[in-house]
């Protein structure tokens, strides 16, 4: 198996992972904030700020994947509605634009208090646009791979579902990781960050509510369960498809060269272990003491599992 020679290689794995996770983090924080009556603004801002970084990494890797990087702008003077990559380019650009404008509005409202009402209303509207774009962004990463003639990717419509649920689990896990880091930085008093943080977060501070982190951890438990069900359905559909090429890819994934990475790396370490660790502590505070370390490690494993699921599915489809 020549992984280095694959047309869709490591840059695309990371691009799809980073872009999906940015969308997943945005969707998570948006819904968490809405369902909790607007009490989680800092979490939402954290999702937008770190999501911008993730999306920019995705864009950079997407560009580096192009054979002719200097002509990337051809994508933005052309609209090809039937081309998933064209739509994806526009969705990613739209998402980045919305997130970027929200960032600017938050900074403006920090310095010009008179504009705070306008900024709040505008970011409120933009957050809905960003929510829709996040769903499209997560879906596009799976549809792009699925809309090919490679049977392993295209024979079942469930590949986009796998990518979406994995993007959400990675997004939730990412938010847990960065929330715990932010709170740790806050506790340890790393002053060099204070000025920077004050520009971007509410005057009330940049602490992420520990109850919110616990709720994110509980959400992650449910999302992992959904992910396991969707993955099982995807595998069952592939095995029942009757396509020799799809079955060959599946065999490679579950019983061949990739099986150790799949069963131990993705299923055991990336999904089951975090699921058990988090579920065991369901009624406790996930954000302090040893449980914070366990939560941090579990979420970190889910984030890495998100990369692994993309890498394994892309390799199995091209091997």
């Amino acid at each position: 198996m020549n992984i280095g020679g694959m047309e869709w290689g490591v840059t695309l794995w990371i691009d799809l992972w980073a872009a999906g996770m940015a969308g997943g983090a945005f969707l998570t924080a948006f819904l968490a904030d809405k369902f909790s009556g607007g009490r989680l603004k800092n979490l939402f801002k954290l999702a937008v700020y770190t999501g911008i970084i993730l999306a920019l990494i995705g864009v950079a890797l997407l560009l580096s994947h192009l054979g002719n990087i200097l002509w990337f702008w051809h994508m933005f003077v052309t609209v090809q509605p039937e081309s998933v990559l064209s739509l994806g380019g526009w969705i990613l650009s739209g998402w980045l634009t919305v997130a970027g404008v929200m960032l600017v509005l938050w900074i403006i409202s920090h310095y010009a208090r008179g504009l705070k009402n306008f900024a709040d209303k505008a970011t409120g509207i933009l957050s809905w646009v960003g929510f829709v774009l996040s769903i499209l962004l997560m879906s596009y990463t799976g549809v792009l791979i699925s809309a090919t003639t490679e049977p392993f990717w295209s024979v079942t419509p469930l590949l986009p579902a796998v990518f979406v649920v994995s993007a959400v689990s990675s997004g939730v896990a990412w938010l847990i990781v960065v929330s715990l880091v932010v709170n740790w930085l806050n506790r340890t008093g790393v002053r060099a960050w204070d000025w920077f943080i004050e520009q971007f977060f509410d005057a009330s501070g940049w602490q992420i509510d520990s109850a919110a982190i616990s709720k994110l951890a509980k959400s992650l438990v449910v999302v992992i369960l959904v992910e396991l069900v969707v993955l099982a359905a995807f595998i069952f559909w592939l095995s029942a498809s009757g396509s020799a090429a799809a079955t060959e890819g599946l065999q490679l994934l579950t019983g061949g060269e990739l099986s150790l990475w799949f069963w131990v790396g993705l299923i055991a370490a990336g999904l089951i272990a975090p699921l058990i660790l988090l579920a065991m502590n369901w009624k406790r505070d996930f954000s302090t003491g040893i449980l914070a370390t366990i939560t941090f490690s579990s979420a970190g494993l889910v984030v890495l599992g998100g990369l692994l699921v993309r890498a394994l599915l892309l390799i199995a489809g091209q091997a």
Partner: protein, 264 residues
């Protein structure tokens, strides 16, 4: 008028004159290859090899058979590569041939994953997708000069013919009937109807998929893309939103924030 190339494999001796003519006309370099256990060389198409002959070793009716198949772009009427190209660099000429505009291609490689026949390849030196253009490339256009594609002109046995597609379909059908009468019941004209009609058709003496490895019912990569979008959107909308509602609706456990609605 729609044009086409007809390949009658019963007349092919695998001299590979077409392969060499393609390289010469398009000024493509030779590739360093190694023996992989077959006369077939190089092993796969590439940015420098737009046409190659496949050597198929098989057993039919208890006897060894050595079969030859042309491998190059089939110039689909419903071209999957053109549909998925994000910059519209792949288009069809008036004759019906599928052409990659090398001044506009960005080398994303999407076409390489969308072609049902795995024909386009990225040339990593040029950073562009490349494939047979039926000799319609800018600066190398034989058709505008009233010539046939280089592969057809050089074929010494008449296995390759070029002309109006309707006439070639009729000729191909006649040859298929002829083969059936001679004891080849699975003879088939591949490309007459596949993907809206191919502009490179094969007269085959046996099953396209079982013997020659061609897809029985090739589809455009985006044929069921709506269902795939729905799969992603429904998952995002239902399966993942539900956990957040279940967990975060008990907002009294949360501290801080103004508590007002819509305040993202």
């Amino acid at each position: 008028m729609s044009k086409a190339i007809l390949f009658d494999l019963t007349k092919c001796t695998a001299c590979r004159g077409c392969q060499v003519a393609c390289k010469q006309w398009n000024e493509h370099a030779a590739e360093e290859t190694s023996n992989w256990g077959s006369y077939e060389n190089p092993k796969e198409l590439s940015g420098e090899t737009w046409l190659k002959m496949r050597f198929i070793e098989t057993e039919r009716n208890g006897k060894f058979d050595w079969l030859f198949l042309r491998r190059a772009c089939l110039h689909c009427e419903e071209a999957s590569c053109a549909v998925v190209c994000p910059v519209g660099a792949i288009f069809k000429t008036e004759d019906g041939f599928v052409h990659i505009d090398q001044e506009w291609c960005i080398g994303c490689g999407t076409c390489t994953q969308a072609c049902p026949f795995h024909v386009p390849h990225i040339d990593h030196h040029a950073g562009l997708a490349m494939k047979c253009s039926a000799c319609t490339s800018v600066g190398y256009n034989r058709l505008d000069a009233g010539l046939k594609p280089a592969c057809v002109s050089t074929c010494p046995t008449g296995a390759l013919t070029f002309g109006d597609r309707d006439e070639l379909v009729a000729a191909g059908q006649a040859q298929v009937e002829n083969l059936k009468a001679k004891g080849y019941p699975n003879a088939y004209l591949y490309g007459e109807n596949e993907l809206g009609g191919l502009h490179v058709m094969y007269v085959l003496d046996d099953s396209p998929s079982a013997v020659y490895g061609l897809p029985d019912n090739p589809k455009v990569a985006t044929a069921d893309v709506v269902g795939k979008w729905l799969s992603g959107l429904v998952t995002a909308g239902v399966l993942t939103a539900l956990p957040f509602w279940l967990v975060f609706k008990r907002k009294q456990e949360l501290a801080g924030g103004s508590g007002k609605k819509g305040g993202a």
